[in-house]
């Protein structure tokens, strides 16, 4: 079942394209010190101090910032934290959504009532304003609070769809048979139900990672992240706060946003592919 899914996934063009883009970013993140011409917080080398607000030159391919940092190097190093925050948030969100969806969909009853109720509340409360309010109260600025805040507000949609899928799968014959045979409920959940909702779990992961990447960039752009960390979001924060636009410095604010969009697109493509695979009606005939 899972093997078939993976085979269909790899054969799908959209999924493959998404996977290639993501792999490229992962390679850039892992080998950042080898690829980047300079350190992200380096302002001078043997030839002297870097110029401030430099245009692209052969030495600084994307110019330098107001503080003399090399923009290309920041972009390459920024991949690390951006990717890390996005993926970790995606994993935590998916895990929470999956756990709540499974418990609520399989065990039903009072537990389900309580979880579904909290879920409905989180669904209708607009997440970005909530994220901004919570983040502005947190005095420690860093990566961890951002991950926690984004995960806290991001699980509701996933939990809702996983629950309804679990509800329908748990009515199927093979689950009923396992129940009649007196199988342990946890074994039923993990061995019978989980493999049947795996495409939905993957879709949840892709959507929540996409949302996390955009959410992270937005928080950092507003200045609610750790502004001294090197990520694409903080690059845009510094560009905006130093009027990069009015200095005509497109090489400063264009690339980070383009990278956020490309990374987001890779997850959107994989998500779309999962939709196509699991819903044969959408697949082209």
């Amino acid at each position: 079942m899972i093997k078939d899914m993976l085979k269909l996934f790899i054969e799908n063009k959209k999924a493959m394209l998404g996977l290639i883009i993501l792999s490229m970013f992962i390679i850039v993140a892992v080998f950042a010190p080898l690829i980047a011409p300079f350190e992200p917080k380096q302002r001078e080398d043997a030839a002297g101090e870097f110029p401030l607000r430099s245009e692209p030159t052969s030495k600084h391919l994307l110019g330098t910032t107001h503080a003399g940092y090399d923009i290309l190097s920041r972009l390459i190093y920024g991949t690390r934290l951006t990717l890390l925050v996005g993926m970790v948030t995606g994993i935590i969100t998916t895990f929470v959504a999956l756990a709540l969806g499974l418990i609520s969909g399989y065990f039903k009853g009072r537990v389900d009532d309580v979880i579904s109720f909290v879920n409905s509340i989180f669904l209708v409360i607009p997440s970005l304003p909530l994220i901004i309010v919570v983040a502005s109260y947190i005095t420690i600025k860093g990566v961890l609070p951002i991950i926690l805040v984004l995960s806290l507000t991001g699980w509701a949609w996933g939990a809702r769809v996983i629950r309804s899928q679990v509800l329908s799968v748990s009515e199927r014959e093979f689950v009923k048979v396992a129940e009649v045979l007196g199988e342990n409920p946890f074994i039923i959940v993990f061995r019978e139900i989980l493999p049947n909702i795996i495409s939905l779990v993957m879709a949840t992961f892709f959507t929540s990672t996409l949302a996390a990447i955009i959410g992270e960039a937005t928080l950092e752009f507003i200045g609610l992240g750790n502004v001294s960390a090197v990520t694409w979001g903080t690059m845009l924060y510094w560009a905006q706060n130093n009027a990069a636009l009015l200095y005509n410095a497109w090489w400063w604010f264009l690339p980070p946003g383009l990278f956020i969009g490309l990374l987001g697109t890779s997850f959107a493509l994989m998500n779309f592919a999962i939709d196509e695979i699991s819903n044969p009606k959408i697949r082209k005939r």
Binding site: L128, P129, I222, G223, P256, L263, F267, A268, F272
Partner: protein
Amino acid sequence: MRYFLRRTMWLIFAIFVALTINFILPRLMPGDPAMIIINQLDGLQPQAIDSIRAAFGLETDKSIFVQYWDYLVNISQGDLGVSISHYPAKVWDVLAKALPWTIGLMGIATVLSFIFGTMLGIAIAWKRKSKVSDAILGLFLFIRSFPYFWFGLILVYFFAFKNPWFPLGGAHSISVTTADGWAYIKSIIYHGLLPGAVITISSLGYWMLTIRNNMINVLAEDYITVAKAKGLSINRIKNTYAARNAILPSISGFAMAFGFVIGGSLVTEMVFSYPGVGFMLFQAVQQQDYPLLQAIFLFITVGVLISNFIADILIMLLDPRIRDGAK
């Protein structure tokens, strides 16, 4: 009718929960918002400190339940406290200036985006095998992956800075006022075009994708095949048979999407220095104006809840299965 009552009860309850979250949040967090303003205004008498605490609704000597009750009473009287950054102006007066701008800009942009997105989605689902449909789908998947604010920055750069076709920001030119009548309205429309375009284009993909998938599901239904066999006109099948059914989940999906669109629009306002709620939220964050911050959160949440309620009622009117009360 039972459906209507259930939705109304849910609306009231959800607003109550939003109020409660709004009350709990500042009390859960480390630090004391009242201390910020007290530190800003040096050398205050103890009585003045007490009155500031009372004004912000943070009276540590009262029990939490008394505070909660006072808070609900104050809100019901439209008293949201005093703004820190606009001290001593009341939060409500500050917020009231920003609301019309946001409601106007976001309202028009969201409606346009819903209409265009839905029409485009119907078209590309109908011609699903064509290359053009694939290209449109790919393009909007790509646009949707960008943060709104960056898309806004790019439009400002190319269409306001490089080519000064549009203003860099603001809601109208400083030289015109309400007294100028038509010139004032023209200026508002001119200033609203670029931020409006950002919100419309960025959120369009969402509606488009939703209706496309619904439409494709509906097109596989038997009654579509029957309609084709009966020899009905293509337009009739597309619009009356397929689209009308496919649009229902789109409207009920409005709930989720609207909260998302609002988030993006708020940040768009920040880029354009548009004097709406989003830009005010940005200023409130930077100046640590917690009473204003919370009032904005409360307003947006209530706005989203009411829009959801309207979407639910619309669904009830459009869908006989719900209207005649299956459940």
